[in-house]
Every structure is written in structure tokens, then in C-alpha cells.
């Protein structure tokens, strides 16, 4: 892994905070509601649009909320923007490197595409379910929620780490980098 071209964490952190505060203002102006920026509702918009295809689901409160709320619509385009930002940044820093799955995974868990994709599918479904249930992902609950010092987000963010740390330990019980 070539890290020499990475920005310093302090630069990235400060820029992210400026973006997140500025966004809050603009979001309030467009959606006419004070609403912190997040990612989950963007995926929710996809789920909501899919759900409205089914007659019986149109009145489902979760489907209805995501399909109709203006913030979910904005966050869907935020998702599309993320893809463009990732592409441009990778090209600009000459680190664009297409791959099927991470090299570190291959080193510890083998070349099996089926095995990795089973983890990707199961992991992403849990990610979506968990984000919807805890009303936000890392962006909404930590970058925004911790900054607001909101109790719900502090508990949710700490739980992200708890679940993630245990899972990482199970997947990689013996890695290097001792202290």
C-alpha cells in the first residue's frame, strides 16, 4: 500500500468539518429543515423507490419516508457525487487501481471470489439494516452526531466500533504491527 501521497489526517479532518458545517446551512435552505448531512438516506432513497414498485408497500412508513423526504433525494445525488469524487481523487493522485477485492483479504483469506462476495453481500445488508435502525451511518452518527454531542449518536457510534472491533478480531486474529 502506497501511503506517500496521502494527505495529512489534520488537513482531511479540518476540510471535512468545514464541508459538514457548510452543508448543514445549505441543506436547511434547500430542504427547509435543519438536517445534518449523511449517507444512509441516499441508499434509503434507492430502497424507497424500489419499494414503491409494490402496491402493498406504498404505505410502509420507512419506504414512504425515504421515497418522499427531500433530504433522501439530495443524499441520493450525494452518493453519485461520492463516486465522482473518488474517481477524480484517485486519478489526481495517480492511485487509481481497479481491483475485485482487497489484496489484504486475499493474503489472509485466499483467492476465492465466492467467499469474498458472500462476505460483501452479507456485510452490506447488515450495514444497511444497522444504519437504518440506528438512524445513521459513520457520517451521520459520528462526523455529525458526535459533533452535536447527541446522546443517541454517541451510543450508536460507540456500538459501531464495538461490533467492528469484534468482527475484525475474528477475521484477523494474528496480524503484525505490535506496539
Amino acid at each position: 500500500m502506497d501511503n506517500s501521497k496521502e494527505w495529512h489526517w489534520f488537513k482531511g479532518g479540518i476540510l471535512t468539518s468545514l464541508l459538514s458545517v457548510a452543508t448543514y446551512f445549505i441543506f436547511a435552505a434547500i430542504a427547509e429543515r435543519n438536517y445534518p448531512f449523511g449517507i444512509t438516506a441516499g441508499f434509503g432513497y434507492i430502497a424507497g423507490m424500489f419499494g414503491t414498485l409494490f402496491e402493498g408497500l406504498r404505505e410502509n412508513p420507512v419506504i414512504k419516508r425515504y421515497a418522499e423526504k427531500p433530504d433522501a433525494f439530495i443524499e441520493f445525488f450525494l452518493l453519485i457525487g461520492l463516486i465522482g469524487g473518488g474517481y477524480t481523487a484517485a486519478k489526481a493522485s495517480k492511485t487509481f487501481s481497479p481491483e475485485h477485492f482487497p489484496a489484504v483479504w486475499e493474503k489472509y483469506h485466499g483467492k476465492s471470489v465466492v467467499k469474498r462476495y458472500l462476505f460483501v453481500i452479507a456485510g452490506s445488508i447488515l450495514l444497511g439494516f444497522g444504519a437504518a435502525l440506528s438512524s445513521g451511518c459513520t457520517t451521520g452518527n459520528i462526523l455529525q452526531g458526535w459533533a452535536h454531542l447527541s446522546l443517541g449518536s454517541i451510543v450508536a457510534g460507540a456500538s459501531f466500533f464495538a461490533g467492528g472491533i469484534v468482527t475484525a478480531r475474528i477475521l484477523y486474529p494474528n496480524v503484525g504491527g505490535g506496539y
Partner: protein
């Protein structure tokens, strides 16, 4: 409508650019953080949290914005742990997933639809379970709970986070090999 679309695209683009340039989207960095061996993401995150926390509350005190704090209910810890397990299995979260698609990481395209599917599953399942999980709700505003001015929380929290950043930055290099 067109304003919402352009705004979403622009914010997503900038966020994806910052995340990618800072190296936050890398699988070894995320797994290294969950194994408590690589702290670059933690430092980035806490820097953003401290900086935006101060900005949010200063602007809030000036009456320029109103924060919407997330209440604490059972969905936060339960959904949080589920989200964390998913994040550990994937090696990235919803925001970085979008940026990774732009970087050519093909598995993240599968995860993209898996995440939306997870929210769809939530919509189908949560109707019966919600009644059990969500009625017990505590206000998200800790300063109201404790009956103190919010700056008595923000300043200690900022000092705590800054202390953590300082300590891990002194003890652990961002460039040592782990995997």
C-alpha cells in the same frame, strides 16, 4: 429540484475527494483501525468532530443554526452493533463505499446494492419489531439531561478527543506495516 441535485452532487464530490486523498477509504486502514493498530482514521475523525463541534455550537449560540439532536432509543445500540459487524465484514462504511466505487474497487458496486437491500429488509421487518424497540426514548441533548450549559460538555469533550489524538499520534506511526 435541480438545485437539490447539483448541491447533492457537489457535496458528495468534495466529500469523496477528501476521503480518498486522505486515505480513509483504504481497506487496510479501516481494518487496521478496527484492530486498534492504525489510528489515522481515528485521528481524522476526531479532528473533524472537535472542529465541527466548536463551529456548530458557536453558530448555534449566535442563532444561525439549530441542531437536531438524535434521541437515544434501543435502535441505536442494537442497530449500531449490526452496522459494526457489517463494517468489519466489508472493511469500509457507506460513505467510503461510494468513493471506492469511483476508485475502481469492483466489489463495492455489489456492496452498494446490498446496502440498499439492507434498508429495504429493514422496511419489511421493522413494523412489528419497532413497537418493541423504540418506545423507550431519551432526549439526545445531554446538557438538558444534566441541566448544565452545553459548553461545560463541549470543552471537556474537545479536550478528551484532542488528548486521544495527541497520545495515539505520539505512540503509533501511520506508516508501519500491519498486514
Amino acid at each position: 429540484m435541480i438545485v437539490s441535485i447539483l448541491f447533492g452532487l457537489a457535496v458528495g464530490f468534495l466529500f469523496g475527494y477528501i476521503l480518498t486523498r486522505t486515505g480513509i477509504t483504504k481497506y487496510p486502514r479501516v481494518m487496521g483501525m478496527l484492530l486498534l493498530k492504525d489510528f489515522k482514521i481515528l485521528k481524522f475523525m476526531l479532528t473533524a468532530v472537535v472542529s465541527s463541534s466548536i463551529l456548530f455550537y458557536v453558530l448555534g449560540d449566535l442563532g444561525l443554526l439549530k441542531l437536531s439532536l438524535k434521541a437515544l432509543d434501543w435502535g441505536k445500540p442494537v442497530g449500531g452493533v449490526i452496522f459494526g459487524v457489517g463494517m468489519g465484514m466489508l472493511g469500509y462504511c457507506p460513505g467510503t463505499m461510494g468513493a471506492r466505487i469511483g476508485q475502481g474497487k469492483r466489489e463495492s458496486i455489489v456492496a452498494f446494492f446490498g446496502m440498499a437491500l439492507g434498508i429495504f429488509v429493514y422496511a419489511l421487518l421493522m413494523q412489528p419489531v419497532k413497537g418493541l424497540l423504540l418506545p423507550c426514548e431519551i432526549t439526545g441533548d445531554i446538557s438538558v439531561l444534566l441541566g448544565i450549559n452545553h459548553w461545560f460538555l463541549i470543552v471537556p469533550a474537545a479536550l478528551l478527543f484532542a488528548g486521544i489524538i495527541y497520545l495515539v499520534n505520539r505512540k503509533v506511526s501511520d506508516d508501519r506495516p500491519i498486514f
